[in-house]
Symmetry: C3
């Protein structure tokens, strides 16, 4: 059965997950993004590729930061952008998710950027639109539950390709709360798809999901051991609600064992890069000296993220 | 005395209510809307009619859905749109409604789209602007208290005209909480203005206002009787707050007597259309099999709604 | 040491405060604003000066009114505007102010309009951007704590210049809660910079800060005395939270002593103008007969405010 994110020609119709995307398609997205990196540097940061299109930011879960990245990307493509924070609207009035979608689609929406606390919600929306609306409405998953955050995964791949060129010689470590992280999941799918030979997951037992080995990932609970000779370190955000929960003793304890310090960073390759999806908890999962240090590419990730989102939007709209 | 929504030439300056509009003016709005239906189908869904105009969505009562329809309509007309949710701003600081309006008008606002919990608020604003600001600022009532929701009424008329062509041969039933419904009131004014010979109101005694007969409406408390041989069924939304209130025993009881089921729908003419202003309470006022069935035109209403709002905005701006 | 709002050529790079700006620079801003007053009167209220620029409204403190004035100004300059209400986003997630700024700057923001409850926050942001980002990102202070509200000060200067032409012959009274007012502070700096020979501050002892005399201001606690023969009266808003606080007996008492009535207004020059930054508390600091009377220029301030903000934005972007 065809994945709902691909059309009958195998082109990307929606972007729901990196899992299962062919390697050359991921590279094509990154190549397209590369052509957009320059746009944001120009005097007039706009191209007319989505002029007259209506892009809806459907955020069922609040995230000003992620919403902003998509809003900028869409505006630089000249789209009309509509922000809908759904907690306070129809959902509160008891309308079903798909009724909301049907309504907005009936207004001739061209693209939905969907953030939802429930894993699979964007998938459900895409399937529904495929069934009832034909090929002209597109869905981008902007983070669903613990499942996937594919544009974050892609911008992480863009960043790694930018700094390391060749994926097939790399050791990459993903560090932190893997269990609850859709970013980790998308990164792991991206890395294995692109041929990274050694992907490592580092975290406390309580925050490591089962099944990582089957995904081709080496698991470490000792961070010093896990960081040894890696080329790329992807730190994950520790959600506030975990900090004093049952799964972790305390933020201080966490920092001691899994916080990235200069001393631990020294165990990686000398030219290793440090990444973080943001927002950072300084002093919890990462030390400021590292976050702001010469190996940090955290702000490059943000810059590339706009280009990657422009690439995805323009590719979906043209397929 | 002239109605404040008309200028000295009898043209529409504001849209506050359908009540009292000449029949040919309503038809002219629907004709104009018809020319906009195609715009939303185009590759580039934009016309420059309101370029450089500032449209303010003034929502004193939250409604993401309605606000969105006006925002899309204005953006497709190339206007600059500013969304003001007033609960959290000046109103909270104790500024009076008319001071807020005066301020925004002083910023050279061109159009106010006003939603307010108080019946008559948009009327008050329009009168004030007529007095102090001259002919260049326009008000559209986007729903005021229990009074009127004229763009919803007009899009309902557009939908009926689209599917039934001739108003003068129709039987139309409006079903549900007529008492609290500004949609019902606007629909009834639209239908009688356009010459519908038989308008029926169906609902429980407690949700039927006095005076319907004087508006030329036949009243039914038995839904089966009321639906007999009608051409159009307009279902109303049952507000959540009514469901367990003093006026109704329960949502289940309501559905049993006034929910539109396939079985009750069979009493209407075989080609009867089913309408609903949304958002729907499936299983309360309407059964899913009907909402998604072949006689439902509920999503067409949404599509036509954008065109009707574009028509009203462009006509006001050009008068 | 150079003030962080000026670049190495002494041009305005950020607008943080009026304090310390050279007189001719203030006049240049007002002259530029004057060229924008006409834009808002046109059929198409748009100029392309900021086309393709990304302007971020960063409101760490909610103010729909102020945010709206900047949003309109930016849109009339053809910028892309992004509104970020930060209470509900990253700040809640514990991200630091400067991390938020770094992130948005990495998205190639061109301008930040910052409102913050903490005095000095926009200053901190500008210093940080000067250090890490080079000359292409601009900050406008849209009100910080009790410190400054320079665009309000400039629009007040614009208004006075418009109606009174020559600053060097004027007596100007600022009346009310001087202690907590960033507007008062910015006005006083504007007035003294522009050569107003007599600036008066009028208010109860408890709401007058120390050090006014050193700023060249004459202090009055008796409003009748203070208003005698003034050319300009700038009334301040009494914050709700002061009304029943320890510093004031009651709103009624306040009105009796410091509310501007027609009777008190008669003590000023016959052609004195009355100003207020809004939103007004009618019946607290100002009587409706005065607010709506022939000497009131309160709505002119609003109109000029858009032009002044357009001027500041376009000058920063071109420096």
């Amino acid at each position: 059965m065809r994945h709902p994110q691909l059309n009958e020609n195998g082109e990307l119709k929606h972007l729901l997950t990196i899992e299962g995307l062919p390697r050359q398609m991921v590279h094509r997205i990154l190549d397209t993004a590369s052509s957009f990196v320059g746009v944001s540097d120009r005097e007039v940061k706009k191209v007319p590729l989505l002029r007259g299109k209506s892009v809806f930011n459907l955020f069922f879960e609040n995230s000003t930061r992620t919403r902003t990245t998509f809003e900028i990307a869409a505006k630089r493509l000249s789209a009309d952008v509509l922000n809908l924070n759904i907690n306070t609207s129809s959902a509160a009035k008891g309308e079903s998710l798909l009724d909301t979608i049907d309504n907005l689609a009936a207004m001739h929406a061209d693209m939905f950027v969907v953030r939802h606390a429930t894993s699979g919600a964007p998938f459900l929306i895409a399937q529904h639109l495929n069934r009832v609306r034909g090929p002209h409405v597109h869905v981008i998953n902007a983070g669903d539950g613990r499942h996937a955050h594919p544009t974050q995964g892609l911008l992480d791949m863009y960043t790694i390709r930018h700094f390391k060129k060749d994926f097939t010689q790399l050791r990459v470590a993903v560090v932190g709360d893997i269990l609850h992280s859709r970013v980790a999941r998308s990164d792991i799918h991206g890395l294995t798809t692109l041929g990274v030979p050694e992907v490592r997951a580092i975290g406390p037992y309580t925050l490591l999901p089962a099944g990582l080995e089957q995904m081709g990932v080496r698991v470490f609970t000792d961070m010093r051991e896990g960081l040894k000779d890696v080329d790329v370190i992807i730190m994950l955000r520790l959600q506030n609600e975990r900090m004093n929960g049952a799964l972790l003793p305390s933020a201080q304890e966490y920092f001691k064992h899994y916080g990235l310090t200069q001393e631990k960073l020294a165990l990686a390759k000398p030219d290793a890069i440090v990444m973080h999806p943001g927002p950072m908890n300084r002093g919890v999962e990462i030390e400021s000296a590292v976050a702001d240090g010469p190996q940090s590419v955290i702000l490059d990730q943000v810059t590339f993220g706009i280009a990657v989102r422009m690439a995805v939007m323009s590719m979906l709209a043209s397929n």
